[in-house]
Subunit: 284 residues, 4 copies
Amino acid sequence: MNNHNKRDWKSKLHEIIYEADTPAGKLFDIVLLVFILASILLVMLESVSWIDAKYHYWLNLGEWIVTILFTIEYIARIITVKKPLKYIFSFYGIVDFLSTVPKYLSLIFMGTHALVALRALRLLRIFRILKLARYLGASNHLTSAIKASRAKISVFLFAVIIAAIIFGTLMYLIEGEENGFTNIPKSVYWCIVTLTTVGFGDIAPQTPLGQLIAAIIMVMGYGIIAVPTGIVSAEYTKSSNDSAKKKESEKAKLNTQSCQNCLAENHKDNAEYCYNCGHNLHLE
Amino acid sequence: MNNHNKRDWKSKLHEIIYEADTPAGKLFDIVLLVFILASILLVMLESVSWIDAKYHYWLNLGEWIVTILFTIEYIARIITVKKPLKYIFSFYGIVDFLSTVPKYLSLIFMGTHALVALRALRLLRIFRILKLARYLGASNHLTSAIKASRAKISVFLFAVIIAAIIFGTLMYLIEGEENGFTNIPKSVYWCIVTLTTVGFGDIAPQTPLGQLIAAIIMVMGYGIIAVPTGIVSAEYTKSSNDSAKKKESEKAKLNTQSCQNCLAENHKDNAEYCYNCGHNLHLE
Amino acid sequence: MNNHNKRDWKSKLHEIIYEADTPAGKLFDIVLLVFILASILLVMLESVSWIDAKYHYWLNLGEWIVTILFTIEYIARIITVKKPLKYIFSFYGIVDFLSTVPKYLSLIFMGTHALVALRALRLLRIFRILKLARYLGASNHLTSAIKASRAKISVFLFAVIIAAIIFGTLMYLIEGEENGFTNIPKSVYWCIVTLTTVGFGDIAPQTPLGQLIAAIIMVMGYGIIAVPTGIVSAEYTKSSNDSAKKKESEKAKLNTQSCQNCLAENHKDNAEYCYNCGHNLHLE
Amino acid sequence: MNNHNKRDWKSKLHEIIYEADTPAGKLFDIVLLVFILASILLVMLESVSWIDAKYHYWLNLGEWIVTILFTIEYIARIITVKKPLKYIFSFYGIVDFLSTVPKYLSLIFMGTHALVALRALRLLRIFRILKLARYLGASNHLTSAIKASRAKISVFLFAVIIAAIIFGTLMYLIEGEENGFTNIPKSVYWCIVTLTTVGFGDIAPQTPLGQLIAAIIMVMGYGIIAVPTGIVSAEYTKSSNDSAKKKESEKAKLNTQSCQNCLAENHKDNAEYCYNCGHNLHLE
C-alpha cells in the first residue's frame, strides 16, 4: 500500500516534470524556463568584471539558489524516470549534469568556476519547453524542407571545406609566413573566413597574386551561396505544394458522388442533378 | 453659428493634414516631406564638426525654422484630431513630439542638443506619406509573403540568437580575456557578428581551437542564411500563384453559362444538364 | 557624283562601326574590344608605381597609340552618324570623349593624367559589343524577372537606406565621437557597412548598448537579405513558368484537330480515329 | 602463356585501382582515401612551426612513407592503364605527379619542400572516390539546375567583375594613394572585397565622397546577390517539377488500357474508341 502510494507520487511528479499537457506540467515548464534564463543572465553579468566587482555577493547568492534548484530538478528527474541511466546518458541528461556540477566543483578546485558558463547549453531546452516547432505552422513544411535538403547541403558544405583546404594551402605557398599566413591550418581558417564572406581582416593578403586569388575565392563564395539557398527554397516550395495538392485531392475524394443513372463522377459540391444525364442525384 | 464655422475650419484642416486625396492634402504632404528631409540634412551637416564651425549660424537658423514649423504642425494635429490623447500617445505622435522638443530643451539644458538627431525618426513618416506599399504592385504579394513568413523567420532568428549565446559562451571559455573576449555579452556580440557574416575583425579568435570553432560558426552562418531566403521565396511564389489561380477561377466564372430555368451559375464546362434543377442546358 | 561616292564611303564606314552583322563590323568590334582591354591594362599597370618606374617609356608609348586610335574612332563615329550631336551627348558619346581627352590635357595641365583612368568606363561598351544578354538564353527570363522585380527591389533598398539613417543617427547618439562615430554621415555609412553584412571594422561599436544595437542591425540585415532574393527567385520562376505554359498552349493549338463526325476535340497527336465516335480523322 | 598471365595480372590490378565495384576495388579506394587524408594532415601539422620543431622526425618519416606509397600507386596506375600517356597528362595524372615529386626534389634542392603542400590537390580525388554526386539524390536535380544556371551565373559574375573594375578605378581617383588605394589593381581588389560583402577592412575609404560611393557599392552588392540565388532556386524548382511531371506521365502510361484490336496504348482517359484503328475499346 505504502509502495503503491509512493509509485503514485512518483508518477505524478513524472507527469509534472516530463509532460506539458497538464496545468501543473505547464507551470513547471514556465518556472523552469524563467530559471534557465535567469541563470544565463547571472553567468553573463558575472563575466563582466566591473559588475562582478560591485555585485559579487548577490550574483554568487543567485547562482547558489539556481544551482540548488537545478540539483533538486536533476535528482527529481532521475527518481521519477523509469530508466534513470537512459536519462543520465541522454543528451539533455548530460547537459543538465554539466550545468549543475561546476558550481560545486568551484568549492573544491580553483578556476573551475568559469565552467558555470556551460549552463548556456540549457538554453537548448527552450526548444523542448516552447515546442517552437509548433510555431512553424501545423503542416510544418519548413522542417520537411530542411530534412529533404540536409543531405544536399551537407555535400555542399563538404565541398566548401575541400575548396577551403585547397585554396588555403595555395595561399600559404603564395603569401607565406611574413604576411600572416603562418601555417596551413591558419591559412585554411582564413580561407573559410573569406569564402563565407565574413572577412575579419585580421589576416589579409598582401601580395598581388595573393590578392588575385583572394578575389577569386570571394567571387566564388559570393556565387555559391546561391546553391544552398536555391535548394531550401525549392524544397520548401515543393513540400508546400505537395501538401496543398494532398489537401485538394482529399477534399475532392470526400465530396465526390457518382450518378446512380449514368455513373458520371466529379459532380459539383452542391449539385442536385447529374450534369451528364439530368438524373436527380439525391433520389433514393 | 460661430461654433459651426470653427468646426468647419477644423475639419478642413483635418482633411489637409490627415488625408492625402485632396489637392491641398497632397500639397501638405509634399511640403512636409521636403521639410523632414531638410531637417535630417541639417542635423547631419551640423554633426560634421568643420561644417558646423563654418556655417553654425545658418544651420542654427534653419533648425529653428524647422522646429517652429514642426511645432505648428504638431499643435495643428492635436487641435484638428477628434481624440487628441490618442494621437499624442500614438507611435507617430510620440515621434513628432520627440523630434520637436529637443531644440527647445537645448535653450534650458546644455548637452541636450544632440537629441535633435532623434528627428531622423520622422523619416518613418515617409512610408505613410509616399504610401510606399503602393509601389509594390496592386496585388501586393510581397506584403502577404512577408506576413506569412513572419512567424517562421522569428523562430529562425530566435534560434540564431540561442546559437549565438551558446557559441559565444563557448568562445569565452576557449579564448578568454587575453584575446579580446573579455566577457560573455561581448563574446555573444562577436558570435552574432560572425554568424551573420558581418565580421568586423575588432575581435578575432587567436587560439587554434577558437579558430576551429569560429570556422564552424561561419560555415553554419553561411549555410543557414538559406532558410529565411527559402521561406520568403517560397511564400512569395505561393502567394503569387494563389492570386493567379484566383484570377483564373474568376475568369472561369465569367465564361460560364447560366441555367435558363433556375439561373444557377458555375456549371461544369462540359455539363449537359443543370446541376441544380436538371434542366437541359443546351435546349433552345 | 563625287558627293554620292562620299556618302557611300560614309555609309559603309557607318555600317562597320555601328553594326555587327557584317564580317567587317564584327572584325571592327573585336579589334575595338582588344584595344579597350589593352588600354585598361595599360592604365592599371601605370598606376602600380614600381611598374611605372621601370617601364614608363613603353607604357606612355602604348597609351599614346591607344589615345590616337580612340581619337580616330571618335572622329569617325561623329562623321558617319546622321545626327552627330545626338551621339556626342549620348551616354556612350560622353564616355568615349572622357576616355580620350585626358591624355591630351596632360600635355597642358599637370596632374590631369590620372583622369586617364576614366577609360575604365569604356568597359561598359563590352555589354554592347558582346551583346551579353544573348548568353542569358533565348527566352531571357532573367531580364524579365529583374524588370518585374525592379520596382519592388527599389522600395526595398529605399527602406534599407531609411533604416540606415535612423540606426546611424541612433548609433551617433549612443557611441559618440570618442568611439569613431565622429558625425552622422559617417555613422550612417557605418550602418550601411553593417546592414549589408560587409563589416570593414574600421569603425566598431565599443559601448555595450552600442554593441547591442549593432547586433540588432546585423540580425536584421541577415534576415532582410531574404526579401530581394525571394522576389527575384519567385519572379524568375513565374516568368519561366509563363513561357513554358505559353509554349505548351501554342503546341496544343497547332496540334489539335476536331473530328468531322462528332466535333470532339483534343485528340492525341498521333490519333488516326476519333476517341469519341471512332470516325477516321484523316478521311477526306 | 607467361605473357597471358602477366596481362591477367595487369588487368586485375587495373580493376582494383580504377574500378570501385569489386570488394578489392572498394578496399583500395578506402585505403587511398585514408592515406590522402593522412598526408594532408601531415603537411598541415608540419607547417605549424612548434609542432614541426617537436615532432620533425616522425612527421618526416610519415611523409616518406606516404610519398613512397603514392609513388608505388602512381607507377601502378601508369603500368595498368592502356594508354599511359593519356593518364599522365590527364588532370588527375598531373595532380598525382605534383603531389609525389616535391618530396624527392627536396633531397636535391633546398626550399622546394614547401611544395609538398600541393598534395592538398589530391583532395579533389575524394569527389571521385566517394562519388559524392550520388548523395545528391537519384534524380540529381541539383546538378542539372547548376548546369542550367551556369551560363547565366557566368554572365552575372562577369558583370560583377566589370562593375568592380569601373568602381575600383573611380575609388582610386577619389581616395588616392594616401588612403591605401595605392594603385588600380589594389583598388579593384578592394572593390571585389566590398561588392561580395566580405569586407576585410585592411583598406577602407576615408573621404566622405569615397564612403558615399562605398555605400552605393555595398547596397548594390547586397541587392545583386539575389540574382544568382534566384536563378539557381528557380532552375532547381523547374528541374524538380519536370522530373515530377515525367514520373506522373509514366504513371499515366501504366494505368491506361490497350486496344484489343491493334494493341495501341496511351489512350485518352475517357476514350471510347481506339485512336489508332477505331476499334471500340469497351466492347467485350
